[in-house]
Subunit: 396 residues, 2 copies
Amino acid sequence: MPAVSEKGLKMPQSPIRKLVPFAEDAKKRGTKVYHLNIGQPDIKTPKIALEAVKNNDLNVLEYSRSEGSEVYREKIAAYYKKQSIYVNSEEIIVTTGGSEALLFTMGTIADTGDEIIIPEPFYANYNGFATAAGVNIVPVVSKIDDNFALPPISEFEKLITPKTKAILICNPGNPTGYLYSKEEILKLAEIVKKHDLFLIADEVYREFTYDGAEHYSIMQAEGLEEHAIIIDSVSKRYSMCGARIGCIVSKNKQVIDAALKFAQARLSPPTYAQIASEAALDTPQNYFDEVITEYVSRRNTLISELEKIDNVKVAKPKGAFYCIAELPIDDADDFAQWILEKFQLDNETVMVAPAAGFYSTPGIGKNQIRIAYVLKEEDLIKAVAVLKAALKEYTS
Amino acid sequence: MPAVSEKGLKMPQSPIRKLVPFAEDAKKRGTKVYHLNIGQPDIKTPKIALEAVKNNDLNVLEYSRSEGSEVYREKIAAYYKKQSIYVNSEEIIVTTGGSEALLFTMGTIADTGDEIIIPEPFYANYNGFATAAGVNIVPVVSKIDDNFALPPISEFEKLITPKTKAILICNPGNPTGYLYSKEEILKLAEIVKKHDLFLIADEVYREFTYDGAEHYSIMQAEGLEEHAIIIDSVSKRYSMCGARIGCIVSKNKQVIDAALKFAQARLSPPTYAQIASEAALDTPQNYFDEVITEYVSRRNTLISELEKIDNVKVAKPKGAFYCIAELPIDDADDFAQWILEKFQLDNETVMVAPAAGFYSTPGIGKNQIRIAYVLKEEDLIKAVAVLKAALKEYTS
């Protein structure tokens, strides 16, 4: 029997994949499962996007251009202008989700064995894209006690080798909810210029910032034109995760030229999803206002409920819709499975994502979980109540 | 300025990419351009697929399952059963087009520096996926004088090394239009079993077979369960190139397990396109009958028109909608550009794909072009007339 590749064996699994069968079993037993584990928002997709697809008049569902339709890219450029990011349509390549944007970017800037430095905990699928591209992730630990702020630049500096090609951040962060300040971005700008590296920012949660904090994009930093690469996506912005549309943005022409070749090989991004995504750009501001208000209120509820539990430490998120909580346990993998398998409160249980899968350094984050606050407040309250009761029983 | 990767520089461009600006210039001059260069059919997408999307009632455009929805995969399995391919839904992973199916498959079975043997000429984007995956393509030349039939198995045997992981065929072939016989498939089955390799078949043109010839799938060959991997796509079958839905099919559990991890990293295939693709499976048989009749008639017209030109050799295709023609010239790249740049007949010109880009061996196929017969017959006749007049002037 022919064997699969080392790469195929090494490809990491999602941190929650192992838990899925236990959640399914719980549901089969009639237990309600609150899903704090997923990044799938329950927020409605803007009507304008859904209607555009329903009203399409295509007779032949043709390929689009590999880089995305000209009209759509022009509209994306106009969207960025409103965010004080000044790019033109030639500096944008439409991709099949932020996922493909990341994969193309890794292939574009790094060869097999090259290194990308990423503050951890980080979005677990970065591991998958890196493995697929043959790239090594070099983690810098950020700490819950600092709210997951940018680690000292000296920590990055120590890790830079001739194989280092880029620093990658997620801002605001999944799974931390941390929003980098302008000062932090400028520090990163300095170090990438000094060492001639790329700075890649996954800014898919750009709009999700709270408490009046403003998002500062790497493309607002001066002198970073040749270094900055933005990874973007419509998935969370418009609650359109299933569209699978994102983009790569860079003013570095070599980057765009190389990424375009990856895009040409796979022909084109999905046509229907581009129709939806183009229309979504006309979503009225009050949609976002309502969504942000909802998330702030969910976050506040979640944090205050979590803070009521003894010995639980939580980093208050300033953006996105995740937070990391540290629990008085040794092994969140075991705990998360135990809740689903053995615990229920009034016939309800909860699924959380063990945070170890968001770290690259072995052994770190084993007592942490990631919580996505994508549920209604009343459900969040009940879910945390389950968590509290479960912790009490598990630790006793 | 940070440099892009070797891989990014090495990523091949589409064989026709260089010609695009010349075609655009011709159009700007008011010259009509017949596009014989592209694989985008003008055939209408089945109404049932378009209507399913128009009538969707989604409120939240959610992620689907990474492997594609259970219902859709069940229906795909039923489709295969009708093709005498016996698989269940667990043996299918839905992908974002055949492109992603190829990319995931290469990552699943080969590591950096591993080799895949492919009869050439082959679909040019195999080069792109191989470069992206770090895999080396080892070509076996198939010949226009043999109609691009399977090269002798001894030719494959000579090329097998410890790094060889698979043989990849496209059946029926793009760009050759060749349909492998059952005997040829069984010969390939023997050699992959003997050397413990995978046999990957890109069968996206499965339905496009002519003159009563029947498609024989690698998954119909006995004893090939652990070796066979089918690459499939809805793009050509239902004229839905812009959907971006395909799949990987294998009875080898390790292959499916590894490919699923690649699929999980990119979250899910596009949701709207899955709605269209699921509905497309109910396309009535008369749609295909009409399409096949149309293509046979186009092919016959194209071939008979080409055969009227002196010193043009053409391999009569038995499937798909491409053919390779050998012209009495030295450099089809130069010729194709010259036609667009300098030639017109009654203010019309033609764009063809130089075939060298479909070969991996340098210097082969330089006097060949690929013609896609995706135009109406009256346009095909005019396009070949332009080609004939252009050849006369170019060679004089």
